[in-house]
């Protein structure tokens, strides 16, 4: 008998948290009524939009990058996928501006071709990979991950890529390597906010080596069955689903293996607010806001209740053992 457990990614709302269909339907009817009653057809199309589309929609805007369904435990959540429009218009990518709408507006200038990623530091086989080499290094998989931003909102995004561990195995880290550092592009000519004092550039993020080796840590080249849009970190980024979104560096140009914990961008900017680990943790509040709940973007409009944030963003069964014995309040 096949029993689906948390380990398979079936970490879902308990039945008591699911809005009864009757209430859900009456809410939508109310919205529809108000929309048609107040402003006619333009509004009705919004109210009538497909609320429960399950299959990953192919937006048809960029080059196709298909991935086979992933067999990694926890890699495919069954939750409703966020609209492509929302996932590509509501972004934090400070190199292109601090407003969430800025990256979609400004990132067209990102020079994604040609692209290469230098893998260096404490490894046996350092190498400068071209993007084409990286794309072919391992079979592409589709992973449907929850994404939780430290600001208190979340999305569900179908990424395409493969486990970072595939790349790490190829370059063979030395015994002395303890951390993996991701350095992202900082090109003042094409990125208008590189040079602003919001952060120290280039943007740097890092993982402990065992975190980086976890199969859920995804080296990512695409989303929604296509290559990454510029504002989402084209052409290659990290996605670490059990950590706050900012841990997943975008538009990576260098991956470096080190023996010392690297100083990361947000940690340098405000160490008391953004720790090195930054695991999603409802019990450790940000100094200025609670992390106990989150707003799922695009979920049933304004009146949706915020949902409870899950430990490790719901990936505790998969990654909890990485932090056994650690005080997660101190190592936040």
């Amino acid at each position: 008998m096949l029993i689906k457990t948390n380990a398979h990614g079936f970490n879902h709302a308990v039945p008591s948290e699911i809005t009864p269909q009757g209430i859900y339907q009456s809410r939508r009817d109310l919205i529809k009524l108000m929309a048609t009653g107040t402003a006619g057809a333009a509004l009705a199309s919004w109210a009538g939009r497909d609320a429960l589309a399950q299959a990953v929609p192919k937006p048809g805007k960029l080059a196709v990058l298909a991935g086979a369904k992933s067999a990694v435990a926890g890699a495919v959540t069954m939750e409703k996928v966020t609209d492509y429009k929302d996932a590509t218009s509501y972004n934090n990518f400070y190199e292109f501006g601090t407003d969430k709408a800025d990256p979609a507006r400004n990132a067209a200038t990102l020079p994604v071709k040609p692209w290469s990623v230098a893998v260096e530091g404490l490894v046996k086989n350092p190498k400068n990979f071209t993007l084409e080499e990286l794309l072919k290094l391992s079979p592409q998989e589709e992973r449907i991950y929850r994404l939780r931003c430290v600001e208190g909102w979340s999305m569900v995004i179908p990424w395409v890529g493969y486990s970072l561990s595939e790349l790490i195995k190829k370059v063979e880290p030395l015994g002395s390597a303890k951390y993996v550092e991701f350095i992202t592009l900082a090109d003042p000519k094409t990125m208008p906010f590189v040079g602003s004092r919001v952060l120290e550039w280039p943007y740097v993020e890092a993982l402990r080596l065992d975190e980086a080796m976890h199969p859920l840590a995804l080296l990512t080249f695409g989303m929604y069955g296509e290559v990454l849009p510029n504002q989402n970190g084209a052409p290659v980024r990290m996605v670490v689903p059990w950590k706050y979104g900012f841990k997943s560096g975008k538009s990576i140009v260098k991956i470096r293996f080190t023996d010392k914990e690297p100083r990361t961008a947000w940690n340098k900017a405000a160490a008391q607010e953004y720790g090195f680990y930054s695991n999603v943790n409802p019990l450790v509040d940000h100094p200025r806001w609670s992390q106990a709940t989150e707003r799922r973007i695009g979920e049933d409009g304004l009146f949706a209740k915020k949902r409870k944030t899950l430990m490790f963003n719901g990936y505790e069964a998969q990654v909890g053992q990485l932090y056994a014995g650690m005080d997660l309040k101190k190592n936040f």
Partner: protein, 219 residues
């Protein structure tokens, strides 16, 4: 020049002027209401509403603080007719701000809201500004002025300077996590300019009084 001045006064004193400005002040609300129902507030409409109503509160505080300097500098006494209405619009937008936060952010959970206010200094500061603005809004009818006496009423309404400062601090703190202060500085510069003018004007008037007194030989 005199004709132009007289003409401007006439327009401002026209019976339609107040309703017209009232409608203009209502436009941001009308737009937000329409945008919310037509899904034009972006991916996170709750956040957009909380932010927009906060922005409009700050803007109306700046506008209401600008009335007196404008009235004096341009010698247009008729501008004073609109000050109370503009102040009430600042209150209207701060109520919407608090309502959006309580509803869309906190789901009207009073215990959660109370915890949030106690725990987060920037919410506490914003909430204090709202609380302090409430008696100003509540005493904005003629009978209240009469009952309180003009002096005391005026003293109470001087609270607006403190409220403007608290509002700015609330905004500053909100943006502090991302070191993104550009907009905060714009509002702070406007408020500083408007309050600075008052200090300067007060000082200049006092000096004029002294020199006038000296001229007529009063010591």
């Amino acid at each position: 020049m005199a004709a132009w001045m007289a003409g401007r006064q006439k327009w401002l004193l026209h019976p339609a002027a107040k309703p017209l400005i009232f409608m203009v002040c209502l436009l941001p609300f009308a737009w937000l209401f329409y945008a919310a129902w037509s899904d034009q507030l972006g991916a996170n409409p709750a956040e957009a509403l909380v932010r927009a109503t906060g922005d409009w509160t700050l803007r109306f505080v700046c506008i209401v603080l600008a009335v007196t300097p404008l009235r004096v500098i341009t010698r247009t006494p008729a501008l004073a007719r609109f000050r109370r209405m503009l102040g009430l619009f600042a209150y209207f937008y701060v109520v919407l701000h608090l309502l959006s936060y309580s509803w869309f952010d906190m789901g009207f959970d009073v215990a959660d809201i109370a915890r949030d206010i106690a725990k987060r200094p920037f919410i506490l500061v914003g909430f204090s500004a709202f609380v302090l603005l409430t008696p100003l809004a509540a005493t904005s009818f003629n009978a209240a002025i009469k009952a309180m006496g003009a002096k005391r009423w005026q003293l109470l309404h001087k609270l607006v300077y403190l409220i403007a400062g608290l509002g700015l601090l609330h905004f500053f703190w909100m943006r502090a996590g991302k070191n993104n202060f550009n907009e905060v500085f714009v509002y702070a510069a406007i408020v500083a300019l408007l309050l600075g003018w008052r200090v300067w004007n007060h000082w200049a008037k006092a000096r004029r009084r002294v020199s006038n007194n000296a001229a007529v030989g009063v010591h």
